[in-house]
Amino acid sequence: MAERLPKPGHFVNTQAKISNRYKRDMMEGNHLSRSIISSLLSCRHMKVLTFAWDYPPETTGGLGMACHGLVSELGAYCDITFVLPRRQRVSPSRCNFIFADVLESTTKSETNVTVGTYSQSDTVVRYYSQKLEKMIYGPLFEAARAFADRAHVIAQTANHDLIHAHDWSSYLAGMAAKAASGKPLVIHVHATAYDQAGGGSVDPQIFAIEQHAFAVADSIAVVSNYTKTILVERYCVDPEKIEVVYNGAEVSTPIYYEPSLCELKAAGKRIVLYHGRITIQKGLDHLIRAARLVVDTDPNVLFIVSGSGDMEAQIMQQVGELGLSENVRFAGALWYEERDRMYQSADLVVMPSVSEPFGLVPLEAIRYGTPVIVSKQSGVAEVLQHALKVDFWDVEEMANKILAASRYPIMYEQLKRESTLELLKVTWHRAAEVVRSLYEKLTTKLQQTFA
C-alpha cells in the first residue's frame, strides 16, 4: 500500500468520481442505475465531515481499517473531509484529510498523543506493552476532549452537510461539531463499553460518553444487529434511530506462503487456531474448556493460541490444570506474515468471543481458505452462513463442532468452498450503500424541516 501525505486542501474532482462510478456501473450492467442519477442530482453537494481516531497505515486494527474501507467506497458518492486527531501518514483514499493538531500550536509532543491508539484495536498487542495499556485512560480522555475542542473550530470553518463520528473516542468531537454547525450527526458504533467488559463491569466514563452521544446523535450506525440489541437493551436507544451497517471484508487474493506446521500435520494432527487478544472479552477460557472435551475424544487435535493480553497467565494456568499442555501451544502474538501463514496452515479457526460487535478474524481466516467456528455473540455470525456457530458458553457444543469439522470431511470441504464464495458478498460497497441512504434520509429530513 503506497503512502503519502496529502496536500492541505487536497482537491477532489467530484465529476471524475461520478464518471468512474458510471464506468463501473456500465461494466456491471447497471445502465444508468439509480445510484448514478442520484449521485448526479444530490450527492454531488453532500459534504460529510468525518471524525475518527486512527487511519491506516498507522494502524491495522479494526477501526482504522473499517474507516478506510468505508471511505474508499463512500467517496464515490460524497465529498468526505476526514478529520484525524494528529498528523500522520495516511493510505491513499477518496477524501480530504484534516489533522486536528495542525490547526493550532500545541505544547504536547506527538508521542504523547499517540498513547491514544487505545486498546480497542488488536494492534495494541503489537504496539504497547501491558504496562502502557493500563496507563492509557488518563491521557486518552484528555486527548479525546482536546480532539473535541478542535472539532468545534473545524466545524465552524469547514463547509459540510453532515457529521459522521466513528467510535467512542470521536463521539465527543462529533457532538462538538454538531454543537458548532447544527448539522445532523451520525454516530458509528464499532464497539461498546459492554463488549470490552465481556460481562464484567463497564467503564463508567466511556459508558457516560456513549450514552450522551447516542442521545445527541440524529442517527446511529452499528456494525451488527448484535450491537443494535446491546444499544437498545443496555443504553435504551430507540431502535428506529439505529441502522445496521455490516463491515466489509478484504477480498483481494491473498499471498500464499510456504506451509508451516508440516511435521505436525504429517503426524496426523489437526490444527485449531485461536487468534486475538487474550482478554475476558475474547472468551479463550471457554475454548480451552472445550479443548479438554475435544482431546478426550480425539487426542490428535492441537490447539494453537496466537495473541497476548491480560488473561494470558490465567489461561496458561487453566491449560495446566486441565492437563492440556500437550495439546495447547502458545505462539505469542503473531502478526503479518506469521499470522497469515498460521491462518493458511490451520485446519480450523475458532472465535469464541463473549461479546464481539463484528469480528474481523473469521473473515481473515476465510480469506485464506480456512473454515471457522464463530460465537453467536458476534456480529460476523450474522453475515456468515457457511460457518459453524456456537454460544460462547456452550462448551460442549463448541467441542462437538470442532470434532465434527475433523470427523466429516465432506462438510469441511463444503464449508471451505462456500465460505470463500460468501466472503465476496461481504463488501464495503454494500456498507457504503447503506450509509449513503442513511445520509440521504438525514439530509432530506433536514430539508423538510426547513421547508
Partner: protein, 449 residues
C-alpha cells in the same frame, strides 16, 4: 362441469435431537429431545394438534355433515400416525371418524416419508407395503392412488405404480413439462397404459398454502367469493382443479388469525353455488375422466421451490453425503433383520432430515429456514451424521454378535426336530440337487450352442 380434488398431506418427521460427537457409542436415543424447542417431537405434535389438527378436523367433520357432495383425499406418513398414536390419540380418532364417512380417501405413500424410490427400489417397496398395512389397520382402507414423498415423480415411478395395481398417481403440474397444456386435465404417464396422473394446480394451491396470509400479496385478503371466481373461470376448459397442499397449511403454516379456517368453512358452499362445480376424491377423479394426453417427466419432479426438483433435499454436498450414507447401510440392516435397528434406520430416511441441511436460498431466510428446527444446515448435518455414526456402531456390534451365534442357529435350523420335518427336509434336499443338476445341464447346452 368441473370438479375440485382437494388433497391434504399430513406429516411430521422424527427430528434428530442435538446429538453430539461424544454421544456416539453412549447414547441410544436420537429422537427424544425434551427441550422446549422445535426439536422436541412430542412438543411439536402437541402444538400442531392444538393449532391445526383438532380445529381443522372439527371443521372437516362439520363440512362433511353440511355438504353431501363435499369429499377430499388425505395422505399420512407412517411417522405421523405413530406420533399421533403416542401423543395425540384423539387426533387419530378424529381422522378415523372422518375417513369412516366413506367420502374421504386415503392415498398410498411411503411409511417413512422417504425418497427411497430414487435410492433403493426394494426398500421403497417394503416401505409402501408397511404403509399400506398400517392404513388398512387404522382406517380399514386399501389405497388405490399413489403419492410419493414431496410429490416427487418420475416416469418409472408411474410405471411401478401401474405394475402394482394403482389407478392413479399425483405430481406437480409444472409448466415446463406441460408446455401449452393445462394441469386441469387427467394425463397418462409416459410409458404406461392404464394409470393416470393427477397434476397439482400450483397457482390455486399455493394461493392458499403460501400466499393466503401474506399482507403484501395483491389479492390479500382473499375471500371465498374471489377464490371461487378463479375456480369458475376454468369452466369449459378443465376437468379437475387439483388442490394439493400440506394439511398443516390450515392453522400451522397459515395461522388461525389469517382467517384460513373461516375461508375453508365457507369455501365448499360458495364454490358449489353455481351448480356447475363439485368435489371428487382422487380415485373418483381418475375414474371419471379420460386421459387427455401424455405426461412425460424423465427427470425427478417435485413440488418444492422454483426448481421443482430434488435440490432442496439433495442439492449440496452434505445432503448428498448424508443420504448416500444412510442407503449404503441397507445391506447390513437387512441382513441383520433386527426390527428395532431397521426402524431407526428408516426413521433416518425421512426426507425432512435432508431438507434441514439445505443451503439453497438460505441467506434470504426463506421457507427452508422457516421449516427447520435447527439453527443452521450444518447443525442439522452434524446431529444427523452423529446419530448415523452411532447406528453404524450398533449395526457392527450386532453383526459381530450374530456372527458368533450363527453356527449354533444354523445347526438348530437345519437339524430336523420332528420326524415330519426330517422327511420334508430330505425331500427338499433331493429336489434341490435335482434342480441344480437340471440347471447345469441347461447351461451347458446353452454354452454349446
Amino acid at each position: 362441469m368441473i370438479s375440485i380434488c382437494p388433497y391434504l398431506h399430513v406429516h411430521q418427521p422424527y427430528r434428530v435431537k442435538r446429538y453430539r460427537v461424544f454421544d456416539i457409542g453412549r447414547e441410544k436415543e436420537y429422537f427424544n429431545d425434551e427441550s422446549a424447542t422445535d426439536l422436541n417431537n412430542r412438543f411439536i405434535v402437541e402444538k400442531v394438534a392444538e393449532k391445526s389438527y383438532r380445529p381443522m378436523n372439527a371443521l372437516l367433520e362439520e363440512l362433511l355433515a353440511a355438504h353431501p357432495e363435499f369429499c377430499f383425499s388425505l395422505s399420512f406418513s407412517g411417522t405421523v400416525l405413530d406420533q399421533f398414536e403416542a401423543w395425540a390419540p384423539d387426533v387419530l380418532e378424529s381422522f378415523q371418524r372422518i375417513i369412516a364417512t366413506g367420502r374421504v380417501e386415503v392415498l398410498a405413500d411411503t411409511y417413512h416419508h422417504s425418497l427411497a424410490f430414487f435410492y433403493s427400489v426394494p426398500e421403497f417397496e417394503r416401505q409402501v407395503t408397511k404403509h399400506e398395512e398400517r392404513v388398512q389397520e387404522l382406517f380399514g382402507y386399501t389405497p388405490r392412488v399413489f403419492r410419493n414423498t414431496e410429490l416427487s415423480y418420475r416416469n418409472d415411478l408411474a410405471k411401478w405404480c401401474e405394475d402394482h395395481g394403482y389407478l392413479g398417481i399425483m405430481a406437480e403440474g409444472w409448466d415446463p413439462l406441460l408446455g401449452w397444456r393445462s394441469p386441469n386435465f387427467v394425463y397418462r404417464p409416459k410409458g404406461t397404459d392404464t394409470i393416470k396422473v393427477l397434476l397439482k394446480n400450483y397457482k390455486l394451491s399455493d394461493d392458499l398454502a403460501f400466499r393466503f396470509g401474506n399482507q403484501g400479496w395483491e389479492s390479500w385478503p382473499l375471500s371465498t367469493e374471489t377464490y371461487s371466481e378463479w375456480v369458475h373461470s376454468h369452466h369449459g376448459n378443465a376437468q379437475t382443479i387439483n388442490l394439493f397442499m400440506d394439511y398443516e397449511t390450515f392453522g400451522e403454516h397459515q395461522w388461525s388469525d389469517t382467517g384460513i379456517f373461516d375461508f375453508w368453512r365457507s369455501f365448499p358452499g360458495t364454490v358449489m353455488s353455481d351448480g356447475e362445480t363439485t368435489f371428487k376424491t382422487a380415485t373418483q377423479t381418475v375414474e371419471s375422466y379420460e386421459a387427455m394426453g401424455e405426461f412425460d417427466s424423465p427427470d425427478i419432479l417435485t413440488w418444492a421451490d422454483t426448481d421443482r426438483d430434488l435440490t432442496a433435499w439433495v442439492g449440496n454436498d452434505i445432503q448428498n453425503d448424508a443420504i448416500a450414507t444412510i442407503y449404503r447401510m441397507e445391506e447390513d440392516v437387512m441382513a441383520l433383520g433386527k426390527p428395532d435397528l431397521t426402524e431407526i434406520w428408516r426413521k433416518l430416511q425421512t426426507s425432512d432430515h435432508f431438507y434441514y441441511m439445505c443451503t439453497k436460498y438460505w441467506a434470504d431466510g426463506d421457507v427452508h429456514a422457516y421449516f427447520s428446527p435447527y439453527e443452521s444446515p450444518y447443525d442439522a448435518y452434524i446431529a444427523y451424521m452423529n446419530a448415523v455414526s452411532d447406528l453404524q456402531l450398533r449395526i457392527q456390534e450386532a453383526k459381530r454378535a450374530q456372527a458368533t451365534t450363527t453356527p449354533a442357529h444354523a445347526v438348530a435350523a437345519t437339524a430336523p426336530r420332528t420326524k415330519q420335518e426330517g422327511w420334508l427336509l430330505a425331500l427338499w434336499r433331493r429336489l434341490h440337487t435335482w434342480l441344480k443338476q437340471r440347471w447345469e445341464k441347461v447351461q451347458a447346452s446353452i454354452n454349446r450352442t
